[in-house]
């Protein structure tokens, strides 16, 4: 899978919420969607996805429904709940504030100090 970045701790939940917000997905689909929307740049450890998915379901941010996969077998599809949508919005704002702050800190030059 090549030249990819490891996820920062705590960002997996955010990425899952984002991926699922674009349409219901099964577990493997979440993985593909994250790879797709990150331009194949982010590496999610495949097994680690499931504990995160179940945790989000338990927190009421996702809901799961059994459906049929493209493999024509039973698969669990995840989609956002209202609470999940709200959480995604909050976390996206929080993330943008954080990256903006870190970006400006890292861009600081000696003459500006």
């Amino acid at each position: 899978m090549g030249d990819q970045a490891q996820l920062l701790p705590g960002t997996l939940d955010l990425l899952i919420l984002k991926a699922v917000s674009l349409g219901p997905l099964h577990g493997y689909g979440v993985l593909l969607r994250i790879a797709q929307i990150s331009g194949q740049a982010l590496l999610v450890e495949q097994g680690a996805l499931y504990p995160a998915l179940f945790r989000l379901v338990r927190q009421g941010l996702l809901q799961a429904e059994w459906g049929t996969s493209e493999n024509n077998r039973r698969a669990k599809f995840y989609q956002l709940t209202a609470a999940g949508r709200k959480r995604l919005q909050d976390e996206t704002e929080g993330w943008n504030r954080l990256t903006a702050a870190i970006g400006s800190a890292l861009a600081a030059r000696p003459e500006e100090v």
Binding site: H26, G27, Y28, E45, Q46, G47, A48, Y50, P51, A52, L53, F54, R55, R58, S69, E70, N71, R73, R74, A75, K76
Partner: protein, 275 residues
């Protein structure tokens, strides 16, 4: 109320446990199958694709446990799963298990020996006057120092070497001071036991050689200080009380000194001294 709700939810979880586990397995299987399809599409053989998909997925057992936890599995299930997992791992490396068990056994054994010796000689030395002149008699070719009573009488009466020769035996009896029999360890002793050890009673009196006039002539007991303290709460009126040992009446005549815990080095807890 809250406990009832918790119990019900725990109960449901337990019943649903198999269903949840089965769903989890199905989901993980499907994931690996889909990944294998994609890898096959990239030109791998089916078998190689499936192998690769499993490798990419990572430690199934670890994620299974984490998933179970995330699904709200109870700690008992997780504990059982951990126990099963450790059994499996240990079974795979019997050499390690043997080495670990032997190491632990030897370490515990060595500690126990060191402690027993320290306890006997340093922490609780033999608390009789002139302990250095106390000897145990033993036939030269026998490992045991048991003697028959008539043999002891002969040894005692013909003794010119020692100050005195005492006989003793550690045994357990059914002890009853009224309605609630318990099993207690006692030392059965010859009449000259305390005099031979040069001990003075803490309370009351000890039995003497002069109390002995044949079998069952001296139904007396002396309590150890600890036993007196625990069972009679330091009651000084205990002297003269009659208690039953193996359904025979014995009269309490005294209490031994606090630091006397039997004359034997590696002593078990001795409750009473019976003549």
């Amino acid at each position: 109320m809250r406990i009832a709700v918790w119990l019900r939810s725990a109960g449901t979880k337990f019943l649903r446990r198999d269903a949840l586990a089965e769903e989890l397995e199905e989901e993980l299987r499907e994931h690996i199958a889909l990944r294998a399809n994609d890898l096959q599409g990239q030109g791998l053989s089916r078998a190689e694709a499936e192998r690769q998909a499993k490798i990419e997925f990572g430690g199934v057992e670890k994620f299974r446990a984490q998933s179970h936890e995330a699904l709200g599995g109870s700690w008992i299930e997780l504990l059982l799963a951990d126990i099963r997992y450790s059994q499996r791992v240990l079974r795979k490396s019997p050499g390690f298990v043997v080495a670990a068990v032997v190491t632990l056994a030897m370490a515990i054994g060595a500690n126990a020996v060191v402690f027993s010796v320290m306890n006997a000689f340093v922490l609780r030395p033999l608390s009789v006057p002139d302990a250095k002149s106390l000897y145990e008699l033993q036939h030269g070719n026998e490992a045991s120092s048991y003697e028959s009573w008539p043999n002891y009488i002969d040894l005692r009466d013909r003794n010119h070497t020692f100050d005195s020769v005492i006989a003793w035996n550690i045994t357990s009896v059914g002890y009853d001071e009224g309605g609630n029999p318990t099993r207690e360890w006692i030392t059965e002793a010859s009449g000259n036991y305390f005099d031979g050890l040069h001990l003075k009673p803490y309370l009351g009196r000890f039995f003497h050689e002069s109390d002995e006039h044949g079998p069952n002539s001296a139904p007396y007991i002396v309590l150890s200080y600890d036993f007196w303290h625990a069972h009679f709460h330091d009651n000084r009126n205990v002297i003269g009380r009659v208690v039953q040992m193996d359904r025979h009446p014995f009269t309490v005549i005294g209490v031994a000194p606090p630091d006397f815990r039997g004359h034997y080095c590696f002593s078990i807890r001795i409750s009473m001294y019976r003549s």
